[in-house]
């Protein structure tokens, strides 16, 4: 029952009729399309990306500290090291996690252990609304509200018009619902008996949360944070609007940076012709982005499978 009901399902047996077989074949094709999608993503990224690495050495791509992929290879100023884009992505993601982890976990603990049913019934749908706000809207808010606010607090000299800080904060708020709802699921799955036993020996709510529920749900919470991190890395519009388009190798939150996703949007906007190095570079960057998010997904699934405690 736990993993799909395929085994228990009475329909999952073959019918002799040819019509039934055709329908089943069609349904199978719908399911198999997801495999085709994955293969196509990998193929597109590899084909166009490898064309890029035909003219650019992998060593330069990994070690160079400048990202200036415009013009011809070998010409003055043409440098293609992905480090600034990766650094920009990680800076924004790091700021996002600093915001999202405490807020997301705090929300999850409150909803799972403290809130009364009526409060939950009001708070959870509001968080779903937050999760449904288009990211282009969040980008507008980051640029026109959060950035001026940061400039008022820290001064316009330390905070550029486009900066990693404001984009990171809003990216963090964007992934709060993801982290909160997945962590809350993990906490709610902790058996009631564990809580009752702890209360029975005199523990307070805070102690139950911190020493019983949190450790018992830790694998699910870690997975939630990793999945949130994956969403932050792949987020495109907030960073395109608010973080800027200047590839910078920096750790300063007030500085303008460019993320991998923002580069993809910028280069596409230039409508570079297919076959040009700029066009191929989009897919090379996309390949790195895809590999990073896929790795995080796989790690999250492993964490859940490996460290999930079985109860009962």
């Amino acid at each position: 029952m736990s993993r799909g009901t395929a085994r228990a399902n009475p329909l999952a047996r073959s019918s002799g009729r040819p019509g039934e077989k055709v329908v089943l074949g069609l349904l199978f094709a719908c399911g198999a399309l997801s495999i085709v999608t994955t293969v196509a993503i990998v193929a597109v990224l590899l084909v166009e990306g490898s064309a890029f690495f035909g003219s650019i050495s992998l060593v330069e791509f990994v070690t160079d500290t400048r990202w200036q992929p415009f013009g011809e290879p070998g010409s003055a100023g043409f440098r293609v090291g992905i480090a600034p884009l990766v650094a920009g992505t990680l800076l924004v993601t790091g700021i996002g996690l600093v915001v999202a982890v405490p807020l997301g976990l705090g929300t999850a603990m409150y909803l799972s252990e403290y809130a009364r049913p009526r409060a939950r019934a009001i708070l959870k749908p509001i968080l779903e609304v937050l999760a449904g706000v288009p990211t282009v809207v969040l980008g507008f808010f980051a640029l026109t509200f959060v950035t001026p606010l940061l400039q008022d607090i820290f001064g316009a000299r330390t905070i550029d018009i486009y900066n990693a800080g404001s984009a990171g904060i809003v990216v963090g708020l964007m992934i709060v619902p993801t982290i909160a709802s997945l962590s809350e699921d993990a906490m709610s799955a902790v058996p009631r008996e564990l809580r009752e036993a702890a209360y029975g020996v005199g523990a307070t709510t805070r102690q139950v949360v911190a020493r019983v529920v949190f450790p018992a749900a830790l694998s699910g919470i870690v997975a939630a944070v990793i999945l949130g991190m994956g969403r932050a890395i792949g987020e495109t519009m907030i960073v395109s609007i608010a973080a800027g388009n200047l590839p910078t190798l920096t750790v300063m939150p007030g500085a303008q940076v460019q993320t991998m996703t923002a580069y993809i949007v910028q280069a596409v906007g230039g409508e570079s012709a297919r076959g040009s190095l700029t066009y191929q570079s989009i897919f090379a960057v996309g390949l790195v982005l895809f590999a990073m998010t896929l790795a995080l997904n796989v790690v999250a699934q492993r964490v859940v499978r490996r460290f999930t405690q079985e109860y009962g």
């Binding site: 993993r3 997801s34 449904g132 288009p134 509200f145 996703t261 997904n297």
Partner: protein, 302 residues
């Protein structure tokens, strides 16, 4: 007295255990901190909406909805982006609904418990985690160039369809799982074939849940800017004003908002962009309302 003392003492001991000295303050503090964390997200949403309404509502009127793009902020309208987004939605629904429900039916009702089925499930979970901009790259490589559809409405719709397929599959499976097994057994016992049971009994019963999930997935799709931007959307000054032409460059609301926010003129960047956002959020609100009504009106508990 001799009898009551131990009882009173043990009662006091129990009270001490329940509320030991100094713990009350820490308990209250912990409660308050977690409540503040919860309210922070909600406060953010409230400030966001208030800011956008303040900037956008003054610029909003009927002309804004029925005018095309203009160089003058006071004459600018979103008609071409609005029709572009509507055509996108229709195309995405036409493709992703049958395919998503088909995949969910296969996985939930018919798939044998083998390695391939498990691979399918893991693959769908992984696809849900792929960044939306990568679906744009997929559509750019496959539909725009390889299949020759160019930067067009069709390519953009395919990017969005593939993006939301995992969401529709997961939601539909959930709805199918909620239909009791006894319904299927009863159908089979009466001599119906597995597909007859599926099509005439199971699917209609799961339909409210399936529809709700699909509408929510569609509302996510029409808010997405990155995949359509990469796969073919253009800003409204160069877009077709005839959105039924599937092979032409098109505009879409989120992409148009992105263009407006990026402009240097304050009137475009703030007022016109915010007015566009209000229109987009209004459309999303409408779709969500429909989904909630469907869920409340037709959902059955077993």
């Amino acid at each position: 007295m001799g009898l009551s003392t131990p009882a009173a003492a043990s009662h006091r001991a129990l009270a001490d255990l329940r509320r030991p000295r100094g713990r009350r303050a820490t308990e209250a503090a912990a409660h308050a901190v977690l409540l503040v964390a919860t309210l922070a997200g909600i406060g953010f949403l409230a400030v966001l909406l208030a800011d956008i309404l303040r900037d956008g509502v003054p610029r909003l009127d009927l002309d804004f909805l029925i005018s095309y793009s203009s160089r003058h902020p006071e004459q600018f309208g979103v008609l071409s982006s609005l029709t572009g987004t509507l055509s996108l939605m229709v195309l995405v629904a036409l493709f992703s609904f049958p395919v998503g429900v088909g995949a969910a039916l296969y996985l939930q009702e018919f798939a044998p418990d083998n390695r391939f089925t498990r691979l399918l499930q893991v693959n769908i979970a992984n696809l849900a985690g792929v960044p939306s901009v990568v679906y744009g790259l997929l559509a750019a490589g496959v539909f725009v160039y390889f299949l020759g559809f160019g930067r067009s409405l069709f390519s953009g719709a395919m990017a969005l369809s593939l993006l939301i397929l995992p969401v529709i599959i997961v939601a539909s499976r959930e709805a199918l799982r909620a239909v009791p097994t006894s319904i299927r057994e009863a159908g089979l016992a009466l001599g119906a074939t597995p597909w007859q049971v599926t099509y005439r009994q199971v699917l209609p019963m799961a339909m409210p849940g399936v529809m709700t999930g699909t509408i929510l997935a569609l509302s996510r799709a029409i808010g997405e800017a990155a995949p359509v931007l990469v796969a073919g959307a253009v800003f409204s000054r160069r877009a077709t004003n005839e959105p039924w032409k599937m092979g032409e460059a098109f505009a879409a609301m989120p992409v148009q908002i992105f263009d407006l926010v990026k402009r240097p003129q304050h009137a475009f960047q703030i007022e016109v962009a915010a007015a566009g956002i209000v229109v987009l959020l209004g459309a999303l609100l409408l779709m969500n309302a429909v989904a909630i009504v469907l869920r409340n009106r037709y959902s059955r508990r077993w």
